[in-house]
């Protein structure tokens, strides 16, 4: 494996983690808000579904996604009918897989943070003339800020370390779908321990720094309960 391949894998990994985090923040925020505030009786069904990737072997998730997204699969056919290309073995497929795989890591901190904001600040905002959307952005989001930070970093870091799902639906195409965790696996298979060390130590250090930053920042911005 040529050395440039490592750089390409880094690029793919960062792009994947970045895009996944952005998508998760935009989809996960309304979902977490709803989960935190809904009194629907069967809410627990949705909560269990969101938490599933925490316990499911990534290969299981990847396997079903592969079947769904493959050219002959139900979603694959639908995409083709809509004029798109099948997602299996593409970067787009990786993004879909990563979003599902990292969902609970973003949604759960957000849900906890929204729940911790409580009803009172939103009622206060309502009596001061703020519409529901206005209350959400001017009160709920700033007060849930530690949850956003935690969710974003956990989602990003978790996607960085993804292996099973990527292997199942992305394959291992250098420069397109090969991510760092798989490059490390390849190096070890090829007995290139030196290059495996560089990438592994890099990931280890980076993950630690990220988490450290989250904990440090959340300590400084611990929300004050009125």
């Amino acid at each position: 494996m040529p050395p440039e391949a490592d750089l390409a894998a880094l690029r793919v990994t960062l792009a994947l983690a970045g895009l996944t985090t952005l998508i998760l923040l935009s989809l996960g925020t309304p979902l977490a808000w709803w989960l935190a505030r809904s009194r629907w009786r069967f809410k627990f069904l949705l909560e269990a579904l969101v938490a599933l990737p925490l316990v499911l072997p990534p290969t299981v998730l990847g396997f079903y996604l592969l079947i769904l997204l493959a050219p002959g699969g139900p979603l694959g056919r639908l995409l083709e009918a809509l004029g798109g290309a099948p997602l299996a073995f593409t970067f787009g497929g990786l993004v879909v897989g990563s979003v599902l795989y990292s969902l609970p890591f973003v949604v759960q901190p957000l849900q906890d943070a929204f729940a911790a904001v409580g009803e009172r600040p939103l009622e206060v905002a309502a009596t001061l003339g703020a519409s529901p959307l206005d209350r959400f952005f001017s009160v709920a989001v700033p007060l849930a800020r530690p949850g956003f930070l935690t969710g974003a970093v956990l989602g990003f870091a978790h996607t960085l370390g993804e292996f099973g799902v990527v292997l199942m639906i992305g394959g291992n195409i250098p420069g397109r779908t090969q991510v760092l965790s798989i490059a490390i696996y390849d190096h070890v298979e090829a007995l290139e321990y030196g290059r495996a060390h560089v990438l592994s130590a890099g990931l280890l250090g980076f993950a630690f720094l990220l988490l450290m930053a989250v904990y440090a920042l959340n300590r400084r911005h611990r929300p004050v309960r009125p």
Partner: protein
Amino acid sequence: MSIEVRFRIARRAFTLEVEARLPARGVTALSGPSGCGKTTLLRAIAGLERDPGGYCRVGEAVWQDGDRFVPTHRRPLGYVFQEPSLFPHLRVRENLDYGYKRTPRGERRVDFAEAVALLGLEALLERHPQGLSGGERQRVAIARALLAGPRLLLMDEPLAALDRTSKREILPFLERLHEALAIPVLYVSHSPTEVARLADHLLLLEAGRIRAAGPVNALLTRLDLAREQGAAAEALIEARVGGHDTAYHLTWLDFPGGRFSITRNDLAVGRRVRLRVLARDVSLTLARQTGTSILNIFPATVADLTGDGPARVLVRLDLAGSPLLASITRKSAALLDIRPGRRVFAQVKAVALVD
């Protein structure tokens, strides 16, 4: 102008079932034992509790009727919660601005500088809520509510969560509010002191229902209600500072039934004050006593009386329109032949200026 409400809200502990018309001026106290539905009623008026069959009108504006339900953020009201709920992520100035900025210019009732001055917040504007005392926070919360241009100010035991010092710090601000602004206030409180100081009108709730409603003094001196107050039974008298006696160092307070003399203070002549007279501090005589150290003696007519335990009788007197309560022994009542219509003299041993 009036406020009209009709709500039926079932809670686990009680069912609030209220139909009332309240004056849309001055301070109306909602009082009653805890868990009687005071807060629920206030929240329903604010639109924070929903009763699909409810009705709520404030002045000309119907806030709830049938299918019509104006959401809280579209109701021109101010709400002060029991615990000072400032936004922790905003400075005092930004907290005050929150409602102010969201109120169209033409609907503002108080301008920013006026609210800041009224509640003495000049020195706090750049501070964060975390650094303020409980009393300071509640003052900010009150100013914030005023700045949202309310047609109705709802206050849910704003002093209950505060210590005595903070309470004493805030009460004068609330009284100033009462004097300076023409915004009607609904004030939830179970403190007789606060009611005596602030309220013009009283709504007594019990187990979710209205027990009594009316002008505060009429209710305080209603014998069935006063009897439940025991030793705290009292009457309020609205008086005006009539002048000062420099020789004896006294201040005269005039009311329709006569003139009170109290130890001199430096209140301005003409100023309106409120006096509290405990029923236990009022005794009765048939003829005007001379040779007594009591200064405050007024001719009165017995309006009504009721037994108050085996030994005492509670008497409601009429002093040229001002009601007053006297608590005397059953024996004295019999000896003096106290009955409605009897002309007597009320001797007031002690009087407290509400301040």
